[in-house]
C-alpha cells in the first residue's frame, strides 16, 4: 500500500489545493441553509420582497460557487489520479519485463496479466472513491462532532464511546477483508488462465468436441470467482452494517442518558433534539466512510499483489567476475543446472568454440537442448560451473550488452501484429538493407515478395496469416538481421522442407563467417558440417566431436544418422 501511495506524492500540492476547494465548497454548502433560514426568519417577517430576493440571490451565488468548486476539483483530482495510475501501471509493466524467467514462472503469466489490468483498475476505483467522497465525509464528521461537543459534553462522551468501537470494527473488518479480496483476485487469475487456454486450444477443443467439458471447467472457475467475490464483499458490508448498529444503539443510549440528565436538571430537553440531528449527520458520514473502507480493502489487496512484484529482487544481477585467461569465443565449463532443484536438467557440460565456428546439438526430446540455450541466454543462472563469452563470464556482462551479442530463433513463435519488416527488425531500428538481406539468408525473400505489400505486409495477431514454415523463416530472419556475434537456432527449421533447409544452411555459412553458430536440430543433415557436435541424453553429453568421429565413437549418434540416412537411402534406391 505504501508503495502505491508513493505515486500520489508528486501531486500532493495539487491535492492540497483540491482539499481546500472541497472544504470551501462544503462550508459554502453549509451556509446555504443558513441563508435560507434568514429568508424565513428575517426577510419574510420584514415584509420586504426585495430583501427576500436579495437573500435568494445570495443563496444562488453560494450554490453556484459550490458547484464550480466541486466540478473543478473533481476534474482536477480525476486528472491527477489517472496520471498516478498511469505511472504506476507503467512501472509495473517495466518491472514485469525485467523479471527473470524463473520469477515469471513463479508469478505465472496469467497472474501478471491480471495484476496489470484488474488490480490497477481496483486501485483507480479506490483512489477515485477516496478523492470524491473521502474528503467531504470526514469534514462533515469532524464538523458534526465539534458542534455536538458544544451542545453537551456528557452526551458527546457517549458519542466518543462509539468511536473506538467503530474504529475497531473497521480495522478488524479490514484485516479479514483484505485476504478475502486477495483470494478473489487469485480466483480471477485462474479465470484468466482458463480463458487463455481455451483461446489457444480452440482447434483442439473443437476437434475433440470438448466444448461441453470446457464449459463445465469454466463454470467451476467462474462459480468460484463469483463465490469469492461475494465472500469478500460480504465481509465488508457486514463490517459497515455493524458500525451502523453500534451508532444506532449509541443513539438510544443517548436518549436514556439525556433523560436522566434532564430529569436531574443538568440539561434541557431541547439540547437532546439538537444533538439528535447532529448525530444523524455523523451516522451518515460514518456510513460513507464504511463504503470508502470497502474500496480501500479491495485496493489494499490489489496494492499488495503489485507490491509483491515490485519487491521481487533484481534477479540475475551483474556480478563482478574477473576475465578468464585462455579465452575463446564461447565456452561452457562444467555447467550443471536444474529447473526445480530436483533432478539435474543438465550436468557437467563443457565445450569450447572459436569465433565463426558452428556447434550442432542433437539429442532426444527432453535431453536438455533447449535448457542449454536458456542458460546461454541467461534466462536462468547455472547452478554450478560457468559460461564464458570471450573469456567473460556471462554473469559479469551487463544485460543489454549480453543480449546484443545474440540472434535467436526459438521454438516459440512470437510474432506480433505488425508489418513483416517490423517483425524482422523487432524494434532494433536496423537499416533496411540488413532486413532485406536477412530475409534473403532466411529463405524468406520469395514468400515475402509474393505477399501483398512485400515487407509491409501486415501480419495477423500471432502471425496467424502465415504458415508454420513461413513463421520460422521470419524468426530466422530476425535472428540474423543484426549480424550477431552468436546465432542460436533452436530447432527453428523443423517446419522447413529439406530443400529450403539446405539452402538456409548454405546461406548461413556464406554470409555469416564471423558469427559463432549454435544449431539445435533433429536432422543429422542440419548439423553434419558443424565444427563441433554435442549429443545429449538426459542432460548429459554422450558424444562430442565432428560428424565423422561421432559416427564411430558415439553409438547413439551413429544410430540416429543411420535411421535418417536409411530413409534417404531407401528413397535413392527406390528412385534408381
Amino acid at each position: 500500500m505504501k508503495h502505491t501511495l508513493k505515486y500520489l506524492k508528486p501531486y500532493m500540492g495539487f491535492f492540497f489545493v483540491i482539499l481546500l476547494a472541497k472544504l470551501t465548497a462544503a462550508v459554502l454548502e453549509l451556509m446555504i441553509p443558513s441563508a435560507l433560514g434568514d429568508i424565513l426568519d428575517i426577510a419574510a417577517p420584514s415584509g420586504s420582497v426585495s430583501l427576500i430576493v436579495r437573500y435568494g440571490l445570495k443563496m444562488a451565488i453560494f450554490a453556484l460557487c459550490t458547484a464550480t468548486l466541486n466540478m473543478s476539483s473533481n476534474i482536477t483530482s480525476s486528472h491527477f489520479i489517472h496520471k498516478a495510475v498511469e505511472r504506476l501501471r507503467q512501472d509495473l509493466f517495466q518491472k514485469v519485463s525485467t523479471l527473470s524467467s524463473a520469477q515469471l514462472d513463479d508469478v505465472t503469466e496469467a497472474s501478471a496479466v491480471t495484476r496489470l489490468t484488474s488490480d490497477t483498475y481496483n486501485i483507480t476505483q479506490m483512489l477515485i472513491g477516496c478523492m470524491t467522497m473521502g474528503i467531504r465525509t470526514p469534514i462533515l464528521m469532524v464538523g458534526g462532532i465539534i458542534v455536538a461537543l458544544q451542545e453537551d459534553v456528557m452526551l458527546t462522551l457517549v458519542l466518543f464511546l462509539a468511536v473506538p468501537m467503530v474504529t475497531l470494527v473497521a480495522i478488524h473488518g479490514n484485516r479479514i477483508a483484505v485476504p478475502k479480496f486477495r483470494a478473489r483476485q487469485a480466483a480471477s487469475d485462474h479465470m484468466v488462465r482458463t480463458v487463455q487456454e481455451n483461446v489457444t486450444g480452440i482447434r483442439v477443443i473443437k476437434a475433440l468436441s470438448k466444448t461441453e467439458h470446457e464449459k463445465k471447467r469454466f463454470d467451476a472457475v467462474n462459480a468460484d470467482l463469483a463465490e469469492k467475490t461475494m465472500d469478500a464483499s460480504l465481509v465488508s458490508s457486514k463490517k459497515s452494517n455493524t458500525n451502523i448498529l453500534i451508532l444506532n444503539l449509541m443513539q438510544a443510549l443517548m436518549i436514556l442518558v439525556g433523560a436522566l440528565r434532564v430529569n436531574a436538571g443538568l440539561m434541557t430537553a431541547g439540547k437532546i433534539v439538537a444533538f439528535m440531528s447532529y448525530f444523524t449527520m455523523i451516522t451518515n458520514a460514518a456510513l460513507n466512510i464504511a463504503n470508502i473502507l470497502m474500496m480501500v480493502s479491495n485496493g489494499t489487496a490489489s496494492a499488495q499483489r503489485m507490491a509483491e512484484i515490485f519487491e521481487k529482487p533484481q534477479d540475475l544481477q551483474v556480478q563482478d567476475i574477473p576475465q578468464d585467461e585462455n579465452p575463446c569465443a564461447l565456452e561452457f565449463r562444467n555447467v550443471r543446472f536444474s529447473y526445480l532443484g530436483q533432478a539435474d536438467n543438465l550436468e557437467n557440460l563443457s565445450f569450447r568454440l572459436e569465433k565463426g565456428q558452428t556447434l550442432g546439438i542433437i539429442g532426444a526430446t527432453g535431453s536438455g537442448k533447449t535448457t542449454l540455450v536458456n542458460l546461454l541466454l541467461r534466462f536462468y543462472d547455472v547452478d554450478e560451473g560457468a559460461i564464458f563469452i570471450h573469456g567473460q563470464d556471462i554473469r559479469s556482462i551487463e544485460d543489454g550488452a549480453l543480449r546484443e551479442k545474440f540472434g535467436v530463433a526459438m521454438q516459440s513463435d512470437f510474432l506480433v501484429a505488425d508489418t513483416t519488416q517490423n517483425n524482422i527488425d523487432f524494434y532494433r531500428h536496423l537499416p533496411k538493407e540488413n532486413l532485406l538481406e536477412a530475409a534473403k539468408i532466411a529463405q524468406a525473400e520469395e514468400f515475402i515478395r509474393e505477399k501483398e505489400g512485400g515487407m509491409d505486409y501486415p501480419l495477423a495477431i500471432k502471425g496467424a496469416n502465415l504458415s508454420g514454415g513461413q513463421k520460422q523463416r521470419l524468426l530466422i530472419a530476425r535472428a540474423v538481421a543484426s549480424k550477431p556475434e552468436i546465432l542460436i537456432l533452436d530447432d527453428s527449421s523443423s517446419a522447413l522442407d529439406y530443400r529450403t533447409d539446405a539452402s538456409l544452411r548454405r546461406a548461413l555459412s556464406e554470409n555469416l563467417h564471423d558469427t559463432t553458430k549454435i544449431i539445435v536440430a533433429q536432422r543429422v543433415s542440419s548439423i553434419a558440417n558443424a565444427d563441433l557436435i554435442l549429443v545429449l541424453e538426459d542432460g548429459k553429453v554422450i558424444g562430442q566431436g565432428k560428424h565423422q568421429d561421432l559416427l564411430h565413437s558415439c553409438e547413439e549418434y551413429a544410430h540416429i544418422a543411420r535411421i535418417q540416412m536409411e530413409a534417404v537411402g531407401e528413397e535413392v534406391a527406390h528412385c534408381g
Binding site: I32, I39, L40, I52, V53, G56, M59, A67, I75, S78, S97, S101, T108, E109, V113, L116, S118, Y121, T132, V192, V195, V199, T200, R203, K206, S209, K210, E214, N222, A226, T229, L234, N241, N248, A252, I255, A259, V262, G265, M276, I362, G366, F414, V416, A417, P458, I461, N465, G468, G469, S494, L496, D497, R499, T500, Q522, H559, I563, E570, E571
Partner: protein, 591 residues
Amino acid sequence: MAKTEQIKKTRQPRSKLYSRLWRYVDSNRPLVVTAVCLQTIRQIADLVCPLLSGLAIDAIGLGKGEADLPKVFTLVAVIVLLRLVKYALLHVGAILNQRISSRVSYSLRRDVFQKLLTLPVSYFDNRQTGDILSVLSYDVDTVKNSLVNNIQVLFSLVLDIAISAIMMALILPELMLVFCVTVPLSIAFAVFISRYVRPFFRARSKTLGKLNGFTEEMISGQKTIRAYGRQEEIVAKYAVQNHEAAEASQKARARGALMGPGMNLINNISLTLISIFGGILYLMKRALLGDVSAFVQYSRRFLEPIRRVGDILGDLQSAFSASERIFDVLDEPTETADAPDAKILTDVAGEVSMEHITFGYTEDKTVISDLSLCAKPGSLVAIVGHTGAGKTTIINLLMRFYDAQKGLIAVDGKGILTLTRDSLRRGYTMVLQDTWLFEGTVFENVAYGKEGVTLQQVEEVCKVAGIHDYVRHLPQGYDTIIRGGGTGISKGQKQMLTIARAMLMDSPMLILDEATSNVDTRTEQKIQSAMRKLMEGRTCFVIAHRLSTIRHADLILVMENGSVQEQGTHEELMAKNGVYAALYHSQFENG
C-alpha cells in the same frame, strides 16, 4: 489466414441494451423482489425511529423531575428492538444484494464464455487474447459494480422521492409549481450529461481492451523480448498505449464527475426559488411560516435523492459502454448452425471425398481452387508441398473450422454440411504441430479426448508413445500438474503427450499435421510402430516434410502456391517428373 476486415457493426439501440441487461438482473426476480421489499421495510423503520425518539424526548419533559422515565425506557427499548431488526434486515439485504450481483456477473461470464466456444476459429485468429480477457474481467466487473449495486439504491431513492413529494403536496401544493420547472431541468441535465459522456466511456472500454490485449501479448512473448534485449522498446510502446488508456479513462471520469455537482446546483436553485416564493406566499398571507419551513425540510429530502439518481445515471454510463462490448461478443455470428435436419455421423467407414472445392479465407483471395479427391476407407492421403502452400487449409476444411465457398466434401457419401459438426469432428483424431496442453495433471491431459479412461489405459498409451519413462520420473508421476511456465517440459515431450492422447481415441479418421515435427529422429523411430498402429485401419491425412514417411501413401497431393499441382501415388508422380519429383530429388542435395 488473411485478416478479414471487421464490418463496422451498427450499434444496437439503447433501449434494446437496457432490456438485455435488465434480463440478467430480472432472471433473479425472487431475489430482487425480496431485496426491494426488505429495503422498503427498512426505510419505513427508518421513518418510524425518529418518530419514536421524538416521543421519547417528549416523555422526558421540559424540566427537572418531569420525566416519565418508565415511558422513556419502554420507548428506548422499542427503538433498540427496531434497530436490531434493521440490522438484521441490512445484513440479509446485503447478502441478497451480493448474491444478485455475483449471479449477474456469473451469468454474463458464463454466456460470454459459452458464446466464445461456439464462435468460428477465425474469430480467435483475428483477435488478441487479452482483448477477449478484458471483456470477461474488466467489462463484466464494471457492469457488476455500477449496474447491480446501483439498481437497488435507485429503488429506495424513488421511494424517498415519492414519499417526500406526497408530503409536500399535502402542505403547500402551490409551491410544487417550482418543481415543475426544476425537476424537468434536472432530468434534461442528467440526460444531456449521460449522452455527452457516453462516447467517452465507450472510448475508455475500448482503449483499455486494447491495452490489455497488448499486455497479454507482450507477457506471452516475454522470452523472445528478453532474448533480444528489447524490453525498453516494448516498455516504450506500452507507455503509448498506457497513456492513451489513462487519457480516455480520465476524460470519461472527469466528464462523469460533472453530474453530481451539476445536479446539486439545480437542487440548490430549487431551494432558493422555494424560499423566495415561500416568503412571498407568506407575505401574501397564503401560507404560514411553519408550513413554508416544513415544506423546505421535505424539499431537501426530495431533492437529495434526485441528485443521487443523477450520480447513479452518470455511473451507469460506464456499465452501459462495458455491456456494449459484452453484447458485441454475444452478437458475433457463430459457426453457422447445423442444418435443422443435420444427422449425427455414426458407424463411419471412413471414406472422404472432396468435389470441386474452392476456398479462400477472404472472398478475393482463393487458397484452394477446384480440388477433388477421394480417400477410400483406411487409405493414407499425404499432403506435401513447400511451406505456405495451404496444406493446413485442407485440414481446416475437413474439420469444418472453415467452410468451402464452392464444392462438396463428403464422409461416407454424406455431405458434411448435412451432418452435425460435433459428430463430424468426433470422427477425426487430430495431432497438430502446435501442441496444446492445459493446466491440469498429466493424466487429465492425456485422457482429455475420451470419457472414462483409466490410469492403466493412460499409462499404456504413454508407454507406446515413449513418454512413460519421462512421466514416471516427474515428482508426482501422472498426477504432476503441467504448468504454463514450462519448467522442464520440452516441446517434443508435449507433442508425445498429444500423440498419446490421440492413441486413446478410436475415431475412424486421423489427421497428422507435422505430428512428430518436434520429436527427434531416435524417439520417432522408437514410436514408429506405435504411429503405424495409430494409423492402422483409419483414413489418414498426413502433412509431412519427410517424404520418406509418406512414400507409401495411397494418394499424394502436391500443393504449390495454394493450389493442388499434382496428385497421385508416389510412382505416378515420379513418372510425371514434375513438382513432386523435384521436391523429392531435392532431399538428396543435402545428404
